[in-house]
Each structure stands twice: as C-alpha cells, then as structure tokens.
C-alpha cells in the first residue's frame, strides 16, 4: 500500500492497468480478452477482477487454441473459467486447417504458432470484436517497445508502425472505423520481473509447467524442447529426462524449456533476477531474424 502519499511501483502499475481495462469497457461495444494460459494473460484476468468486481467482466475471454497445448495449460484454463463464472470463447487452429484457410507446416521445425494469426483474425471477425486485450509488454522485444497501449489494426489485422496514433497523457483514443479493431495492452509498462513480483504479491496460481519438474526433452537448435507427439522428431533427436521449467507458455512446438530447479515462486524470481537470457530468447520463433517480430506484427500477430 501507499506510504507518504506516494504509490509503490506495483500499486502504480496495477492502477494503470485497471484504468486501461476500464477505458476498454467504456469505449468499445464488443471487447474481448485474449487468454493464452500464460502468466501475462493470467495477470490480466486478475486485473480484470480488480477492475470490474463485484460486477461481471464486460468482455468474454478468448483462447486461440493451436491444439498443441501443454495439458497443464488447458486444465488450468478450465478450472479458472469455472472459478470466475465468465464466458470463454475458443478459436481452434485445427478448424482453420480443416477449412483450408491455412496449411500445416512441414519439416522438423514445423509449428502452428504462425497459423494462429489466421484463426485469431477469423475469431475476431466472427464475433465482431472491436477491441482485443492482450498481455504483451514493451520490454519483450524491440518492435513492441514502440507500440501504443491502444494499437489500431486495419481490417486485415495489420499493424502499421508508421501510422500509429500519438498517445498522450493517459488519454486513449479508441475511435475506429467499421472493420478495424484495436489491440489493447494494459501491462505494456511491466517487465517480466514486475509480473512475477505481482503474481507473488497477489498469490496468483499458475499452470504447473512454470515451475521446475522432470520432463522428457530433446535439444533443437541449442534449445531444450519438450518431447511431444506434436514435435516432428526423427532418429537424430535424443530424448533425455531433464529437470526443467518454462518461462513462457505457448504452443508446445515453439516454447523452449530452461534447465531449472526453481520449485517455488521465490526461486523463480531469484532465477530471473540473475538470469542472463531474456524471456523471448526462449521463443524459437523470434530467433529467425532480427526483424522477425516486426514482420509478424505487421501481419496481424498479437
């Protein structure tokens, strides 16, 4: 809580995020909260509770499901929805594949990560969402560092870095034309460590894969990947039993594990404080090129 008439940094970050969520509620007709099962979107859910309880959320939760999930994530999601009593909408990448809208990648590094953009845009169009709240943070990656808190996407879901609206004070301009939508990032100003410290302070439960556990892994491109039926493995891939945890939770084919003995949240915070690898360094999809994220965002990626 505040001392000396001045807010502590976590209180200030929380208050800002709640303010942004309430702006979404006040400015849009059909907003949605994109829920990935990762710690950032779990934090958003907590913030939404703080913004709107004892009322209902003024938006449903939307999960874009690649079908290549960690079972722990789905289990967590379903329990959370039951506790919240809020609406969940699921967009299945498998449906997009079946409808022929996207083609499954082939080869060793095949992943459905890139395909989810199409499913996301279809889900937005189907439900006519005018605002989608997401848990992206500016400290994650260079291209994100310049993104607005209210980030307008055209009718193709594209982000145009050169046509971003000036965003002054705490005045967020959510005015859009029909067909456009806004991506909203309430925790833009949080760092990875801020999120963890907040989760600890608020005693928020997380999917178990964030904590150290034993798992069958293979090593791909210098990174540890969870062995799973979704990963195209061949005889070169050697399965080893490792003690690992995941720093981000995404599709199983693109989320790398780190060797870890952090079983409790305090251990994780210590690990991150001393860690010398940034969070997105554990995402294979960002490694492709220096401008990888910028290109994907222009194409409608979250």
């Amino acid at each position: 809580m505040s001392t000396n008439n001045h807010l502590d940094y976590l209180d200030e970050l929380e208050a800002e995020a709640i303010y942004i969520l309430r702006e979404v509620a006040g400015q849009f007709e059909k907003p949605a909260l994109l829920f990935s099962g990762g710690k950032d979107s779990i934090t958003l859910v907590r913030l939404a509770e703080k913004a709107f309880r004892p009322g209902k959320f003024p938006f449903p939760l939307v999960h874009i499901d690649t079908g290549h999930n960690f079972v722990e994530t789905i289990d967590y999601r379903d329990r959370m929805i039951e506790r919240l009593g809020e609406k969940l909408i699921i967009g299945h990448v498998q449906d997009s594949i079946n409808e022929g809208k996207v083609v499954e990648q082939k080869g060793k590094n095949a992943s459905r990560n890139a395909l989810q953009t199409v499913t996301l845009l279809d889900t937005i169009a189907k439900h006519q969402f005018d605002a989608c709240i997401g848990g992206a943070r500016r400290d994650e990656e260079k291209a994100r560092a310049k993104e607005r808190i209210f980030s307008v996407r055209d009718e193709f879901g594209q982000w145009d870095p050169k046509r971003q609206r000036p965003e002054l004070w705490n005045l967020y301009n959510g005015k859009i034309h029909k067909g456009e939508n806004v991506r909203v990032f309430p925790i833009s100003n949080w760092t990875e460590l801020d999120v963890w410290n907040y989760i600890r302070r608020e005693k928020i439960e997380l999917p178990s894969i964030y904590f150290a556990h034993e798992r069958d892994c293979i090593t791909r491109n210098g990174q540890l990947m969870a062995a799973s039926p979704f990963l195209n493995m061949d005889e070169e891939d050697v399965i080893e039993r490792r003690n690992v945890r995941f720093r981000t939770v995404g599709d199983m084919t693109c989320t790398a594990a780190v060797e870890s003995y952090a079983y409790e949240i305090d251990d994780i915070i210590n690990e991150i404080s001393e860690s010398k690898i940034s969070e997105r360094g554990a995402r294979m999809d960002d490694k492709v090129s220096e401008a990888a994220m910028e290109d994907r965002k222009k194409g409608g990626y979250f």
């Binding site: 008439n5 200030e12 509620a25 870095p161 000036p166 940034s278």
Partner: protein, 416 residues
C-alpha cells in the same frame, strides 16, 4: 521502490541513443542474448567498441535510416527505482513525437553537445519541456571527452542555459557534464572531471524527489465506468469506477459531480477486496456516494471545496499532430478525461516559432505547429489550467473523418 518516467530530448548527433545505451549497459540492464546480438552487429564506433546506440533503435525503417522516428520505451531498474525511458526523436519534423513522449514524463534529460553549446534545438526542446509541464530537468552536457573535459567550456554552457531556462520558465534545472561514449558521469562518477563534485546521472535519477503533494492538488476523479452487478444480493450496488487524477478523496468528503453540479458525500471507497479510508493520486478505485444521483462515464467527481473551471469556450495551447492542417471550419472531437464531445477551434491567437520563441500570426496551423487558440466545445469541460494540474488540463483532438488523434491541448483558462 517507485517509478520514474523520463524523456530524453536531443538529436542523434548529440549522442542521445548512446547515452541511453550507456545507462542500460553500465547499470547492467542488458541481458546476455541482447548483448550477444549487440556484439554480433556490424555497427561499431570508430575505435572499434560496440555501438550502444543500437540498443535503442527498434524498427526496420529506423535501422535503415539510422534515426529514431517514433517514441520507444525502455525499462530498467536499480534497487531504488523502476525507470521508464521515453526515447523520443529530437528533429523538428518529429516535434509531435517529442510532445507525446513528454506528456507522461516526470523528468526530462536535455542533451547538449559540448562542442556546439546552446543551439536552436536546445531552445526548442526546453520550450517543449516547459509547455508540457515536466517538473524536473537535467541538462547533460555531452561529449566532454572531445573538449578534453574542459571546465570553462562547461561553465559557459551552464550560464547560457540558465538564461534560456529563465526565458522559457523552467525551474529545477540540474547540470551534469558527461561523456556517453566514454561513460563519464553516466552511471559511474568520472575520474576525468575532478572539478565536478556533483553526482552521476544515474545517482541523480535514483534520488531526485518526484513525490507529488496530494494535499496541495485538488481532488479530481474522472468516472470511467459504473459498476452495477444487478444481482439479487447486490441489487442496489452502484459504484463509480475511476482513477484519482489528482489530490485525494476520503470517506465522508463532500463531492460535486461535473458538469451537472449535483453534490453528495462519499460513503465508501472500494479497491477490490479492500475498503481504504482514502484514495490518493494514481489509485484506481470504486467510489460510492450517499445519494442516488445521476453519474455516468464522462463525468468528473471533484472535491466540492475546490472546484475546477466549467466552460465551453476555452483558451488553450495547441500542438498540431496531423499532416492535414487545422481546419477552423471543421467540427472535431475533443477527448478530456473520459469525456468526448464535439468541438471547433474558433480562433488562432498566435503560433510560436519554437526555435526562436517568436510569435507568428500566419493562419495556417500545420503539422508540428504550436500556438495558442480558443476552442469551443459542444458540452462543457470541467478542467484545471494545465500548468497547475496536468492531470485535469490535458486533452486531445480527434478528427472524426479519420479517427486519428490530430492535436494535443493544454487547457489554460475559460473565456468569458
């Protein structure tokens, strides 16, 4: 630990990106994989050391052109503070970007190239810092290494700048001689300037007082959302959700709802599972009133004892941010707090040449122009003069044809 947001004003040539890079690098805020990418890059300084400026330029177009176009946000922290850097471009064609970055800053770093001293852009940056009401200013006199760390040269710049600060009405100015390239006085105290006994930039940033006096500023809370569960057990629940823009509200305080003018008393303050006795600046809360009066999004709750101006005709400073010039015959939208209403810019009183500070009287109000205008709004705005209360004095203009934010307003006074 608290948060300090600051903006860096300066051009590429002044070593602004290098300064930020140095702050991040020397305070060990760069992680191994980012460092690896930095070392792998082809861009090097003349002496072969890594170019720290790479850390701050984000977008492809900018990397190609070697300039910083848009505001980029950078994060780092020390044991004392969390820092948010708004890295804004310094060229005149990007004035709107600097205004944007400056709008949320609690402190500005103004960079001066020691070889050039106080020049046109220094005037421009200082004027903008003053216009946007940034409370603290640090002038970093950079590239001291290129002048052999000469004290006289530094003193000359300090006295030149003090004259400028007076002219643009900047108080609380701190001066530090630095070399971002060599690392003098950025994070570590320089051993090359024994004549300077002040602190390094980072030490200063860690300790500068940024507390707001909530007792001195007037209590304002824009209503964002009305919480109405409408369930059986919470049938009569009606809470007004918003973030305290300034001052503080306490249970039993008498409040007025503007623009309607209805008054009531605060019966309860809620913060999710807590019921604090007071809500201070920056807190997001839900307020309950003792009386059943009409309050909705767009209204402003204020302390009945300290009321703001309520007016439809308002004099204001304007920064134009759109490539299409201001059209005084067009009806725009103005967004002030949670309120959006139609408006017209009735009159342009003057523009300011922000390089020379001279007033100009040509009519055309174009991209990056700044000047004083009179705005007429469809609904009355309940505002405080920006220079007294930033939180309730800033507004944006939206072009209803494009929905783009085209102007920033710093409201000054009601016009009779």
């Amino acid at each position: 630990m608290d948060i300090l947001k600051f903006i860096t004003a300066g051009s590429v040539d002044d070593g602004k990106s290098t300064l930020i890079g140095r702050l991040l690098y020397d305070s060990e805020a760069i992680l191994a994989d980012q460092l690896e990418a930095l070392h792998a890059s082809n861009r090097k300084n003349d002496d072969g050391t890594i170019d720290l400026a790479i850390l701050t330029d984000g977008l492809k177009a900018e990397r190609e052109q070697g300039i910083t176009i848009d505001v980029a946000y950078k994060y780092f922290n020390t044991d004392k503070r969390k820092f948010i850097i708004a890295d804004a471009p310094g060229h005149i064609q990007y004035t709107r970007n600097m205004v944007t970055g400056a709008s949320n800053a609690g402190l500005a770093i103004i960079l001066i190239d020691a070889r050039k001293g106080v020049i046109e852009q220094t005037i421009r940056h200082s004027f903008l810092v003053s216009l946007l009401g940034i409370p603290q200013v640090v002038v970093c006199v950079n590239k001291m290494d290129m002048l052999n760390y000469d004290e006289q040269a530094y003193n000359k710049i300090v006295s030149d700048y003090e004259a400028l600060a007076k002219k643009v009405e900047l108080n609380n100015v701190k001066f530090i001689p630095v070399s971002a390239l060599k690392g003098d006085n950025i994070v570590h105290q320089s051993t090359n300037m024994s004549w300077y006994d002040g602190e390094s930039l980072l030490t200063y940033l860690e300790n500068v007082d940024i507390k707001v006096d909530v007792k001195a500023s007037h209590a304002r809370l824009p209503v964002q959302w009305v919480v109405r569960p409408q369930t059986d057990e919470l049938h009569d629940y009606r809470g007004y959700a918003g973030r305290v823009a300034s001052g503080r509200f306490r249970v039993n305080d008498k409040v007025t709802v503007l623009p309607s003018g209805f008054t009531s008393t605060i019966s309860k303050i809620e913060q999710f599972d807590k019921e604090p006795a007071e809500a201070i600046t920056g807190m997001s809360v839900t307020i309950h009133l003792a009386d059943d009066i009409d309050v909705s999004r767009g209204d402003l709750l204020v302390s009945s004892a300290e009321q703001p101006h309520v007016a439809q005709l308002i004099e204001a400073d304007l920064c134009w941010m759109d490539t299409r010039p201001l059209d005084t015959t067009h009806t725009y939208l103005v967004q002030h707090n949670s309120k959006v209403t139609r408006c017209r810019i009735n009159e342009v009183l003057h523009k300011v040449n922000i390089n020379t500070l001279e007033k100009q009287y040509d009519e055309d109000f174009k991209l990056n122009d700044i000047g004083r205008i009179v705005i007429k709004t469809a609904d009355a705005l309940a505002f405080d003069p920006y220079q007294l209360n930033k939180a309730n004095g800033g507004a944006i203009i939206i072009d209803s044809r494009t929905n783009v934010t085209v102007g920033a307003l710093m409201l000054r006074s009601a016009v009779d």
